[in-house]
């Protein structure tokens, strides 16, 4: 179903003869309208509770979704954990269908069939994937242990998270904005990111969107004049570097004009061990993160 919509978005279809082009465009519009109505008519999963459909859906999930969301839908480095009862972009069948079919603008979630890599799914296959997700998701929203209010105090206070991380417009810019992290990342992922941030740098989606996927790699440069800057890579290509230093200043360099350039996948974020952040305080910080991003 994504196909007619794609044509519509592109709008203008070519033809040397304008009348023929118009005719064709009308035909496409009619086809799209019909398709849209067919979709709207069905907002319930025809395979709801069908274990066999869920099994087929698992194949589709592996082929189309696991690349970012992980094999068991528990979330990967790129995509959210889908085994939670609450989904950020809507919980109803129709919401899930829309999220899968149309993607989520402004995020790495592409519209169905538009990843430029895989095949994309038919309407039926999308419903089967939804059956699969339903079969692995938690029955009820998880009880979040920990004291979120205390977690917020720590985040903006002693633990110093907000020096580099922003939540809803408040905080620093050097690290990823965490406003939606709670809804996007699994608890395990958050624990790992805090205890061992270099294990897995924050990732965007690769390939089709590789043109700009920030990974918060650490960079250290010395300019021709001898000034040293340390910070994170915002973007780079073979010839140029765009970075933010630890004072949140942007720097734009031509690499061959630098005296030195060193990159590292050791995160600038300190690894918060037990001494810096006890298990209890960690739990509170995560409770805050999960709460603030909750749908």
């Amino acid at each position: 179903m994504s196909i007619p919509r794609t044509n519509l978005r592109r709008g203008k279809l070519w033809s040397r003869r304008r009348d023929l082009g118009l005719l064709f465009e009308c035909a496409v519009l009619v086809a799209c309208a019909a398709a849209a109505m067919a979709l709207r008519a069905q907002d319930k999963n025809p395979f709801a509770g069908d274990a066999k459909a869920a099994k087929v859906g698992e194949s589709q999930f592996r082929a189309n979704c696991a690349f970012c969301h992980g094999l068991g839908a528990r979330g990967g480095g790129r995509g959210p954990d889908l085994t939670r009862a609450q989904k950020r972009h809507g919980n109803a069948d129709a919401d899930l269908f829309r999220t899968i079919n149309e993607g989520v603008p402004g995020t790495a979630m592409p519209p169905n069939g538009a990843t430029q890599q895989g095949v994309g799914m038919t309407e039926q296959e999308i419903w089967q994937v939804i059956s699969y997700i339903r079969s692995v998701q938690a029955k009820a929203p998880a009880q979040i242990p920990g004291n979120a209010a205390h977690g917020k105090e720590l985040f903006y206070g002693n633990v110093g998270c907000s020096t580099c991380h922003m939540i809803q417009g408040k905080g620093g810019r050097l690290g990823p904005d965490l406003s939606t992290t709670g809804s996007a990342r699994s608890r395990d992922y958050l624990v790992e990111s805090i205890r061992n941030p270099s294990r897995r740098l924050a990732q965007g989606i690769s390939e089709a969107m590789k043109e700009f996927s920030q990974e918060y790699e650490t960079v250290s440069v010395v300019t021709a004049e001898g000034t040293k800057f340390v910070g994170v890579v915002l973007n780079e290509d073979h010839f140029t570097l765009q970075m933010m230093d630890t004072r949140e200043q942007l720097h734009l360099f031509e690499k061959d004009k630098l005296r030195s350039l060193e990159k590292s996948r050791e995160s600038l974020m300190p690894a918060y061990d037990q001494k810096m952040l006890s298990d209890k305080d960690l739990q509170d910080v995560i409770a805050y993160l999960l709460g603030v991003g909750a749908p």
Partner: protein, 549 residues
Amino acid sequence: MKWQTMLGAVKSRFLAALGMTKLRVSAVILFTMGTGSASLMRAQVTAERLVDSGKEPQNWMMYSGDYAGRRFSALEQINISNAATLAPKWAYQTMAGGKFETTPLVVDGILYGTGQDNRAFALDARSGRPIWQYQRALPADIRPCCGRVNRGLAILGDKVFLGTLDAHVIALDSKTGNVVWDVAAVDYRGGYSITLAPLAIKNLIIVGVSGGEYGIRGFIDAYDAATGERKWRFYTVPGPGEPGHETWEGESWKIGGSPAWITGTYDAATNTIFWTTGNPSPSNRGEGRAGDNLYSNSLLALEPETGKLKWYFQFSKHDEHDYDATQVPVMVDQGERRLILQANRNGFFYEVDRANGKLLFANPFAKVTWSDSKDASGAPIARKDASPTLEGNRVCPGAAGATNWMSPTYDPQTRLFYVTAREQCDVFSTAPQAYEAGHAYYGSAYFPNDDAEPFTGALRAIDPGTGKMKWEWKHPSPTWSGVLSTAGGLIFTGDAEGNFIALDAASGKALWHFQCGASVYSSPMSFAIDGKQYVAVAAGSALFTFALP
């Protein structure tokens, strides 16, 4: 300006055929010269011109530039001493999203290209202004794998030929873009599509089919260029009673995949087509298709008139990692030796005798973990523990391969083979999957390895004598750009960060680059008009051309 002389001769013949007097002929020629037009009357593209494409370096008449698949331009106006001054000349916007994979053709001043969703266009190659534009009305229910892409056209006579996402082959009038004939190769609803640039040989248009993700039964077709009548079909998965059929378990041959989605090459001296094939289906699951699975991931030598198989060489037997052999099989002569060179998606660089398909050697050109030994012939053997597992098994190269469909180039001056290498490992998983016609059929999936190892890439210059690397140019991330070599001592390639780059072919030193604003998913080419050389590359939704100021 050899070609202008030739053009004049062709014009004279053409006008004489129209019964014009000598006087009028001269008048017309004077007139055309007076207007400064490059070619008011274009010559027909004969099969002979295609065989002798080396005599017309100003033209680029087939996907890889010549039948040998070298992607080498004999033009030398742009060279190592002036490449730094290259400047954009014009850009043509398709206004289409997604990957723009075309290599345009240029014949006698007109550029013919294709875009997403089966667009095709003819442009004034000097100005970029369109002469005609075409777009196929595609059915709503096509779901081709890996983008709604197309890699280009073939030209023969007064037609250009397009393969479509709904698995048709179409002939367009090269002057108007009107459809001359339109033939369905197969029902697209089975998961078939055509994305490659067809190849014109003699009076035939050769195409191969895409669809290795759907459990198709792959084939290579030949169509009569004049009528669209199908002359032969070679099934890349042999049917009952045919040699090779025994390499498929049970009924698995019916959905054995083995597509043929990259343009082949042609040896006129021996009258042999060389075509390559892709993965057996399902790509990630060997269970249920025990055997070598011929002719998946193979190099095929076919007779053009009949499609009869002369010989084959299989690169990856019983593949479980999507290691398509769909890389242009490049013909290179070394003294008495007649070779096919291929840097394969499985990470090995192969040298094969093109008289008989005998392997001469195979050496890795990128990181390889799927094989750690070779058989008596020198062919790499897959490790037992490299197979995909339910929870996933990390193997190098990853599913996108150590290289892919992006073209390599062979430079007869440096005698080096240049290829885009991708260093990316993946976790391959496998699970049972029921086949359903027209639906994705992978037998599970692959995903990036989850350790801290970043993906990288490089343009590598390989000495075909030894398979050893001479130099490399590192890409920050793996690119999908192919490579062009020119007689100016230059290599042109693109990167995933959007740069189009000129390098010294001998040393790998970058001499010039231009930021196109989007990743390059295409293989560059070169042409000339009025004695001025251009280099062209597709990136984003634009076709860019560059020339000296």
